[in-house]
C-alpha cells in the first residue's frame, strides 16, 4: 500500500519554542495511525500544520502525492484531509441536523451529493453510525459533552474524508461513552476506507485502536512502532508513561 500522508522535517517555532522540531513520519493508506505524547508535546500543533491552520516554518507535507503546504484549511479539507478539534467546536446556534448539513454544503460534498433527498439520507446515515439520531433536532448548544464529542467526529465524517485527523476524541468521556466513538472510528476505517490519524491520552482504548504509533516529546519524534514496541520503549516510558507505565497496556 502507498503512503497517503508524508510529513517531512516539519519545524514550527513559537518565539523561542520549537513546538514541532523536525518531525517526519508517513501514514499508509487505510491504516489507523496513532500519535502519543505528553501535554504540550506539540501534537495539536502538528495537526494544525497538516490541516493548514498554521503554516510550518520548514518542512513538507505531501497528501495523496501533492504538496499541501500553503493551502488554506478549506482547500485541504476539500481534498479529503479533515480534522477534528481537541476542544470541540460545534456550530452552537444550529441544531445537530443543521450542523451536519453545513458540512455537506462544501464544494467537495456538493459534487458527491446531487439532490436534497440524497443529502438527507447521507446526514441520517452519519447520524446513525455516530448515534446522534435521537438528538438530530436539538440545538447543539444544549448537548452534553458526550454528544458534543460524537458530533465533532460526525461533522468530520460527513465530508467523507480520505484521511481523518482526530485530536483527543475521548477526552472528557467515560469508558462507556468512549466505546461508541471507538466503534465509529473502526467503522469509518473499515467500511468507508478512511485512513485514521489519532491523538489520544486514553492509553487503553488508544492502544486497542491503532496499528502503528509515533511518540512525540518536546516537538521531536522519540519513537515509532507498533503499540507493543512503543509501550516497551525506554524513552517513551521515561518521558510519558512513567515508572511501570508499560503495565498499563500490557496488563
Amino acid at each position: 500500500m502507498s503512503n497517503i500522508l508524508e510529513v517531512k522535517n516539519l519545524i514550527k517555532r513559537f518565539g523561542g519554542l520549537k513546538a514541532t522540531d523536525n518531525i517526519t513520519f508517513n501514514v499508509v493508506e487505510g491504516e489507523r495511525f496513532g500519535i502519543l505524547g505528553p501535554n504540550g508535546a506539540g501534537k495539536t500543533t502538528l495537526f494544525n500544520q497538516i490541516s493548514g491552520f498554521i503554516k510550518p516554518d520548514e518542512g513538507s507535507i505531501i497528501f495523496n502525492g501533492e504538496n499541501i503546504i500553503g493551502l488554506s484549511p478549506e482547500k485541504i479539507a476539500n481534498k479529503g484531509l479533515v480534522r477534528t478539534f481537541q476542544i470541540v467546536k460545534p456550530f452552537k446556534e444550529l441544531t445537530v441536523y443543521e450542523n451536519l448539513k453545513v458540512t455537506t454544503l462544501t464544494p467537495k460534498m456538493k459534487e458527491e451529493i446531487k439532490s436534497e433527498p440524497e443529502r438527507r439520507k447521507w446526514i441520517e446515515y452519519i447520524a446513525d453510525i455516530c448515534e446522534l439520531k435521537e438528538v438530530l433536532n436539538t440545538d447543539s448548544e444544549m448537548l452534553p459533552q458526550g454528544y458534543l464529542k460524537k458530533l465533532e467526529v460526525a461533522k468530520a465524517l460527513s465530508v467523507n474524508p480520505k484521511v481523518l485527523l482526530l485530536d483527543e476524541p475521548f477526552a472528557g468521556l467515560t469508558v462507556s461513552e468512549i466505546d461508541p466513538i471507538s466503534k465509529v472510528i473502526i467503522k469509518a476505517n473499515e467500511e468507508r476506507e478512511t485512513t485514521i490519524v489519532l491523538i489520544e491520552h486514553r492509553l487503553k482504548e488508544f492502544m486497542a485502536l491503532v496499528n502503528r504509533i509515533i511518540a512525540i516529546d518536546y516537538g521531536e519524534v522519540i519513537a515509532e512502532g507498533t503499540p507493543n514496541e512503543i509501550v516497551n520503549n525506554a524513552k517513551v516510558i521515561e518521558s510519558y508513561l512513567g515508572k511501570g507505565g508499560g503495565d498499563i497496556v500490557n496488563s
Partner: protein
C-alpha cells in the same frame, strides 16, 4: 401546509394585506408618507442583519453602504436626470461592489475592531461628502432628483413592493443554505474551515448582499424625497443598528419589523416635542435590558408553533445504567 399553523405567518400576512389596502381605506397622506419611509427603514434593518446578525460583524457604519447608492443616484441624476428604473439597478451594482471592497480588507476583524473599522469608513465618507461639495452638494445635499412616481399613493405602493421583495429575498437567503453557512461561520469560523467551507467567499457575499440592498434602499429613498443629503443619510448608521438590535437579530424579519415600527414610533413621538427623543432613548435602553433577544424575536418565539418537539437529550449520568 405547516405554514398555515404558524401564527407568525398569519399575522404577517394579515399585516401585509392591511398595508396593501391601506391607501384605499385612508387618504391621510401624512400616514401614507410615514408608512412609505418605514418600509425603507425595514430594508435598512434587514440588510444590516444579513451581514451583522448572521456573521456577527457588528456594523456601525451601515450608512456608508446606503450613501453609495443614494449619492450615486443623486450625482448621476443631477447630471443626467436618471429615472428610478435605471438608477436603482445602478445603485445595486455599485453598492454590491463597494460592499466587496470593504468586505475583503476587513474580513479578519471582529467585535469592537470591526465596529470601529465600519464606523471609520462611514465617518470618512461623511467627511468627504462635506468637503467635496462640488460632487455631493456638501451639507446642502443634492436636490431636484426625479420623484419615484407621480404621486404619494403610487410612491407608497412602489416602496411597499420594493421592501416586500427585498425583505423576502433577504429572508430566503437567511433561511437557505447560504444563511446556514453564515451562521456556522458566526458560531465557529475555524470549525467551518476545517470541514471545507470557503468562509471568505461567504463572508464577502454577505457584505455584497447587505450593501446591495442598503444601497438600493438608499436610492429609493433619494427618489422618494427628491433629495439626498448628509442629514438624512449619515444618522442611519446608528439608527439602523439600534432598530435591528431592538427588533432582534439573526432572522431578518424581526430586524425588519424593528426598522418598520421604530421608524413609525419616532415619527409618532414627534408630537411630544422635546420629550420625544428622551422617550425614544429610554425605550431603547429598557428594551436592551429587558428584551435581550429583541422585541420581535422574543414575540416570534412566543408565537412559534410548539409542535416541532425539541428532544432534550438525557444527561450522561442517567445513560450509564
Amino acid at each position: 401546509m405547516n405554514r398555515l399553523k404558524d401564527i407568525r405567518f398569519i399575522l404577517i400576512f394579515i399585516g401585509l394585506v392591511f398595508l396593501f389596502i391601506f391607501p384605499v381605506l385612508s387618504s391621510d397622506f401624512y400616514l401614507i408618507n410615514i408608512l412609505s419611509i418605514a418600509f425603507i427603514y425595514a430594508v435598512y434593518a434587514g440588510s444590516w442583519d444579513i451581514l451583522s446578525g448572521f456573521t456577527g460583524k457588528e456594523n456601525m457604519g451601515h450608512a456608508a453602504f446606503i450613501a453609495i447608492g443614494a449619492y450615486l443616484l443623486g450625482f448621476v441624476s443631477a447630471v443626467y436626470s436618471i429615472q428610478p428604473w435605471l438608477s436603482i439597478p445602478m445603485a445595486a451594482v455599485a453598492s454590491a461592489l463597494f460592499g466587496i471592497a470593504i468586505g475583503v480588507p476587513t474580513l479578519r476583524l471582529k467585535g469592537p475592531y470591526f465596529a470601529l473599522a465600519s464606523l471609520a469608513v462611514a465617518s470618512i465618507f461623511e467627511n468627504l461628502t462635506i468637503s467635496y461639495s462640488e460632487f455631493t452638494g456638501g451639507e446642502e445635499g443634492i436636490f431636484g432628483i426625479p420623484f419615484l412616481t407621480p404621486g404619494p399613493t403610487s410612491d407608497y405602493y412602489f416602496m411597499l413592493i420594493f421592501s416586500f421583495i427585498s425583505i423576502l429575498i433577504l429572508f430566503i437567503a437567511g433561511k437557505s443554505n447560504f444563511g446556514l453557512i453564515l451562521k456556522s461561520i458566526k458560531s465557529d469560523e475555524d470549525a467551518a474551515k476545517a470541514v471545507g467551507i470557503k468562509t471568505t467567499k461567504y463572508k464577502v457575499t454577505a457584505f455584497a448582499l447587505s450593501a446591495m440592498f442598503a444601497g438600493m434602499a438608499g436610492a429609493v429613498m433619494g427618489h422618494f424625497y427628491g433629495y439626498v443629503g448628509p442629514d438624512i443619510v449619515y444618522p442611519l448608521s446608528l439608527n439602523t443598528l439600534i432598530m435591528a438590535v431592538v427588533g432582534g437579530i439573526g432572522g431578518i424579519i424581526p430586524a425588519a419589523l424593528g426598522g418598520f415600527f421604530i421608524s413609525l414610533l419616532t415619527e409618532l413621538l414627534r408630537g411630544l416635542g422635546q420629550w420625544n427623543n428622551l422617550i425614544y432613548t429610554v425605550i431603547l435602553m429598557l428594551s436592551i435590558l429587558f428584551l435581550p433577544k429583541g422585541a420581535f424575536k422574543t414575540l416570534g418565539e412566543f408565537l412559534k408553533p410548539k409542535n416541532k418537539k425539541n428532544k432534550t437529550p438525557k444527561l450522561r449520568g442517567e445513560e450509564n445504567e
